[in-house]
Symmetry: C2
Subunit: 233 residues, 2 copies
Amino acid sequence: MTRYNHPTRILVALDCIIFGFDGEFLKLLLIKRNFEPEKGKWSLMGGFLNEEEDLEVAAARILYELTGLRDIYVEQLQTFGKVDRDPVERTVSVGFFALINIDDHDPEAVKAHNAYWISLNDIPELIFDHAKMVELARERLRYKAALHPLGFELMPEKFTIPQLQKLYEAIYGMTLDRRNFSRKLLSTGLLIDTGEKNENSATKKATLYKLNREKYQDKFHEFWNFMPDTFLI
Amino acid sequence: MTRYNHPTRILVALDCIIFGFDGEFLKLLLIKRNFEPEKGKWSLMGGFLNEEEDLEVAAARILYELTGLRDIYVEQLQTFGKVDRDPVERTVSVGFFALINIDDHDPEAVKAHNAYWISLNDIPELIFDHAKMVELARERLRYKAALHPLGFELMPEKFTIPQLQKLYEAIYGMTLDRRNFSRKLLSTGLLIDTGEKNENSATKKATLYKLNREKYQDKFHEFWNFMPDTFLI
DNA sequence: CCAAAAGTGTTTCCCATACACCCATGG
DNA sequence: CCATGGGTGTATGGGAAACACTTTTGG
């Protein structure tokens, strides 16, 4: 079998930055490592690329292994390739950015990997360059969520507008005007009124909406404007 | 020396999508391969990642080798990792997106690599998945140039507003209103009037501007709006 | 009846758009 | 003096932002 005449073949790893939202805080699914290397420390969920496996397939495999979920929102973040990023051996790692509904994950799988949902405000020290990956993923979320209706990926099937507003306020660390936010969202035509109300409320029950999936697919790449003009990245 | 107990180490390649603008057309720097594999066919400029070399350093090395330029605009595009993307051997390739002033490149280096500037309208068939890389890079350029003052990277040191408008029209394949474009650009405060005029003109000579580099650095990541609101990706 | 949260309405003001007009230059 | 392209001015409309008010619910 023919091969290239180049000496350097390298381990290719994948690391997944997995976001969730519990109604109040933005969270990441992190692993308290009960295996080597760096046993006992915190890290992202990762794995190695196999010989006969597409890169995206490997990412889906690793995400499924930890969360029990398929067909979730995943995009490539960036590839990290500093020589010394992994002290064990030269490794290039492709970072993947995932958004899931925090209620959908399989608790068994998460527990089996010794993984926990950690608020973005309380991220512990992470191994290797994982902190840099998290920071970049956070910027990417802030960037894209301002322009595209990304936030729905973090919501349950049915949700209220105030819940969605809380998500945006968590992403950007700022408060938003209730009335303008609601109008902006409804004007996108992305919301379908389910006719139901949120029963978990001590006051006026908010309307439960679901996502208009067809329109969401069609218009996802258009530029929208989910944040006030006064907001700057 | 300790190593990971994983069997698959893979060649890591880099491929560079290099954009230039000649005043009329957007162009790519492509290679007519006079070496194996796929000798005689067209491809992007690429190379392999070395053992003791950071990924970004490798990209800069490859770009320097072809153009003779350092400190140009480079960003990671995406990593391509289909199993069969390279028929010679399993190879993962990191795509890099570069913007250069077409007049600055070293013609000797370009000639030595048998490279040519090809208009984006006339891209020939490319090897492997390079056509996909080009398409993605093109989308990235269209995306970012609408939001950030990226276009200046493709301009010479001194340029006129009509020249810049021609660039945007080439990127998006549409005509723009002269007067609104000019106002929008000037209102950013990114342009410094050099006091000189473009002498290569048969009619009224346009003002030559240069980029306000400090402001450009500071404000690059803010959201701007260089395209009409009616424009959708 | 009251407090807290959800929903709807209104006014104002800025800015993007779509125009028209004037200026400079070479032939 | 005229054709071509560069530069400046202006009216208008839509939409974002900043507000006030009403409605629903549980206690």
